[in-house]
Amino acid sequence: MTSWLDATLVLLILTSLWLLGSSRLQACIRAVAFQGLLVGLIPLLSKWPEISLRLGGVAVLSMAIKAIVLPAMLRRAVREANVLNEVQPLIGFTTSLLLGIALWGLAMHIAGRLPVQTLNVSAILVPVAIFTVLCGLLLIVSRNTAVMQVIGYLGLENGIYVFGWAFAIEEPLLVEMGVLLDVFVAVFVMGITMHHLSREFDTIETDELSSLKD
């Protein structure tokens, strides 16, 4: 199963780069949904074939939320706020991609020096987790619209999920469920913010928020 797992991890890297390089909102939502699906597969693949009912249930549930529910909510928010289908980047797509590659190097560097025992299923499990987190952060920092920030946040959360799995903490899924709840709330809050932003400023660019400071 290791080869399948490695293939999934490589796909995960590619979707992160896809997120960084894509200029269309709909494409980004698709990418993050796909990323959610891949992330949900990782526990199943690394434990194959001894899959308990609980593990399977939680994996399926998290895939359903990450790949179906949250993207659907995002699509709806985009539709209702009448957003242009364009990602407005603060730094260009090419630069983002180059930064992404630099981040991959950084992730490898950090992962190599982490003084912790990890689950010995794949050599690139931890670097991929860190890379996904960093890409999520990069998206949040470098994109202008609230939707893209939610997407970045989802990416970040996917990374944390993989990370938690890599360490096989006693109850990683419990922690994960807590984080997922945070994301859920965050999507709600962002949805409300977007709604108000588009009503007040006719745009969902968070830059406009700075005009609110006193």
Binding site: R113, P115, L137, I140, V141, T206, L209, S210
Partner: protein, 663 residues
Amino acid sequence: MWLFVAGLIVFFGGGVVSLLMRMSPRLASMVGCVAAVTGSLLALGSAAHVLFTGQAAHVTMAWQIPFGSLALGIDSLSAIFVVPIAVIVAVAAIYGGQYLPSSYRSSVIGPSWFFFNLLAATMLLVVVARNGLLFLLCWEGMSLASFFLVLTDHERERTQRAAWIYLAAMHLGTACLLVLFLLLGRSSGDLDFERFTCEPGSAGILFLLAVVGFGTKAGFIPVHVWLPEAHPAAPSHVSAVMSGVMIKTGIYGLLRILTFLGDVPSWSGWTLVVVGVLSGILGVLFALAQHDLKKLLAYHSVENIGIIVIGLGVGLLGLAHRIPPMAVLGFAGAMLHVLNHALFKSLLFLGAGAVQHGTGTRDIDRLGGLLKKMPVTGTTFLVGACAISGLPPLNGFVSELLIYLGVLTGVADSSRVAEVGWALLCVLVVGGLALIGGLAAACFTKAFGCAFLGEPRSEDAERGHEVGAAMRASMVVLAGACFLVALTGPIWPYVYGSAVVAVAPASFHGEVQAAIEQSRFPLMVVCVSSWAFLAMVGLLAMVRRALLSGRQVDRVPTWDCGYAAPTPRMQYTASSFASPILLLFRMFFRPRIGQHLPTGLFPKQASFESETPDVFREYLFEPVFSAVAWTALRLRWLQHGRLQLYVLYIALTILVLFIWKLG
């Protein structure tokens, strides 16, 4: 103990239900009030059980929080604080049930009852918590609940300012407490009170942290600045609870910490005595200078906390110098004054609320002649005023007498009678207490005389009317309790004896009982003469009635020496009444006096007004906080309002930490 836990559940449940009942404020008010009264009675029941049987009760429940454990326990020290809290909360709730709906908008009623019940429950939890983390959580909950209660009238700018000052003061205090608990738990690695130990040599610093941390809540000078702001801003029944019992949790905290410290150095007793005398005298002087009835009462809280702290200081000196009667009388006096101050200060705040409700103003200079229009409020206010001035046959006298006795027995102790320090202590405590009592009497002569006697000074006062039955009943109950404590004087040292034992080191316990016996005789004298005094007053009243029966009694205006056109403006105002004493003490505080003296033979215009801002706020805290604000403004460029850059700050910090740590 389970009775107590049931009481807590009733508080929380009732609070949440009244919060949810947005549709019907009347029902919400009723639920909140009934829950508060029921919860208080349950808590009172369990505290009474502990006091009468002398057996402490404990309960520990599982709690999944690091360093935390849900350990509750009522020993006699907790019980004597639970009693005033439960009594005052119940009475204030009955008062508030009528006062709140008639004075505030209906949208604040539900939330206000929620926070009232929350405040009551957290106060009770604070005095029974047996774990540092639980204590701090409840302590914060108490501060926050009362913060929101102060904000009940949240649309007025003064209220908002008062609430912010309060919140800032509470957090500064809690910061000290956090350090204190961490230091106490350091050696055992655990925050349970049972395992708190005081490392040798650290008693002094722990004591100072406790004085600052708990003193901020209790209102020691100079960290009292939140009191005169927050108490007037809150609804009156909340002020009664905050001033009557919430600030006493600070005294409880200090006493509880003393039980961990073991042998305390002698200077700690001196510190408390000096802080107490300062708080007492300055508190009453500031009170004398106020024209707002509730602000005046708030400064009197500072004064009475000062008296309590003097008692604690005397008790500590007794412990440090091994003079058991002095320690017992000092601590017992302080603890009894906690109860007494709760009774009469709540009574006075409820009276001030009734005045505001009846006339629409709290400005003493706009009141007058209310005793005729509000006889019950006026009479009970007079009882409270006498009690707070320490006059017999009321309760304030009994507790102050115990403190006097404590210091006098200590000073008369044969082995030390010649020491200079001891004479100084005597002068400081006896002189200080006497001065405080005298000034308090002057202050309440001013407050009662200007508000309730004479003629109405404004249309508001003319329109004044008596308040509803529930509000009157709660004031009458508290006034009755003030008499009751005084008339049963000799039993109190016995009630407080076991709490004193808790504070005193183990080697002392045998001698405590003897010391309590010693205090019985003077208290008996006071008690008997109080009964005699009351009997005489009753007799005279009956004689007067018998003489007047069958005659016609007329009511006419006060005789004005034949002057043809008297007006209410010819009366003393609060400013002019207090002015001689204010001028005498003007070096301590800087009253702003605006006067326009009459000149010539037929002067037309003349005026006098005085305003006294808090010296410590103006000259100590405002410069410090302005400096902090100035520094913060220099860092303003970091706050640009761009979401992305904020996230970038966080991300970069994490990355730098990662790279630095993993290299």
